[in-house]
């Protein structure tokens, strides 16, 4: 703060916010439009990293950044890359069949109309509901966030955590069962 003026600092903060939003949404757009599925997974990694930066900078949670990077950007995407590699050469490029009704231009025109409607609804909600509350994010305070999170996770949400563990176990066993080769009867 001492090196540069306060106004320049605020301008740079807004520039960072704008760049981060452009980076995240642009990567997401490329992830669904690029022809090669391999490249789509790579763009998905960039999207996930952008969301992780939003967690760190604007949700003030370094723990969520770490989890997002390890589980999402590191784990799920590598799983996807392996699935593409194991699915043969044809799986790497998406064949464009003549689905005229779901043409890109039409779907994005529909998406734009949805966006306008959603922004209208959002502004109405803002008028009706958010004005009753403080609509700005609270400034950071020096509190023990991660310790508090751990305490909440293992006391208030302990049952949820247990159910989640069983769900992950079931998912792992289910995927192993799906992928294992059929054993021939001897």
């Amino acid at each position: 703060m001492a090196l540069i003026g306060t106004e320049l600092f605020h301008a740079l903060e807004y520039l960072v916010l704008f760049l981060l939003i452009a980076y995240t949404t642009g990567s997401a757009f490329l992830a669904v439009t690029v022809k090669s599925v391999y490249h789509a997974v790579l763009w998905l990694i960039f999207t996930l990293l952008g969301v992780a930066m939003i967690f760190l900078l604007y949700a003030e949670s370094a723990l969520l950044l770490v989890i997002q990077m390890i589980v999402y950007a590191g784990g799920i995407t590598i799983l996807m890359l392996f699935a593409i590699s194991l699915s043969g050469k044809k799986a790497m490029f998406e064949e464009q069949k003549g689905l005229k009704l779901l043409d890109w231009r039409l779907s994005f025109a529909g998406g734009f109309i949805l966006l306008v409607i959603a922004f209208y609804i959002l502004s109405q909600v803002n008028l009706a509901f958010w004005q009753q509350q403080t609509t700005t994010i609270k400034p950071s305070e020096e509190i023990e966030l991660i310790g508090n999170l751990a305490r909440t996770l293992f006391t208030v949400h302990g049952g949820t955590l247990l159910v989640l563990g069983f769900l992950l176990l079931a998912a792992m066993l289910g995927s192993v069962y799906l992928v294992k080769k059929e054993v021939e009867d001897i």
């Binding site: 995240t24 799983l79 699915s87 799986a91 998406g111 959002l122 700005t136 208030v156 998912a171």
Partner: protein, 105 residues
């Protein structure tokens, strides 16, 4: 962090991400790209969870717990989804979602 930043900015970002994911899910024919679109949509929901957690008392971290649960659910979903894709590839020889017509009435 920018002071007095309205959370509507991030709701808008989440909305755009959700719409991109939704459009990609409708458009795509590759089953893997469908999973990619679903991950983008889940991430847009996670942004809302994390941002609205700041509205409350900062000692009340249920929003962050929600994000952690959501990420674990997404991991389970991706594992099972990719298992199904590999299983279908083994029987059909393709992962094009428009070719899976076995359950068609």
């Amino acid at each position: 962090m920018i002071e007095n930043l309205d959370a509507s900015v991030f709701v808008g970002v989440a909305l755009i991400l959700f719409l991109i994911g939704f459009a990609g899910f409708i458009k795509s024919q590759s089953a893997v790209r469908m999973l990619i679109s679903i991950e983008i949509m889940i991430n847009s929901a996670n942004i809302n969870f994390a941002i609205f957690a700041l509205y409350n008392d900062l000692t009340f971290v249920t929003g962050h717990v929600g994000v952690i649960i959501s990420i674990a659910l997404a991991a389970a979903e991706a594992a099972v989804g990719l298992g199904i894709i590999l299983s279908i590839f083994r029987t059909h020889g393709t992962i094009d979602a428009t070719d899976f017509i076995e359950l068609k009435g």
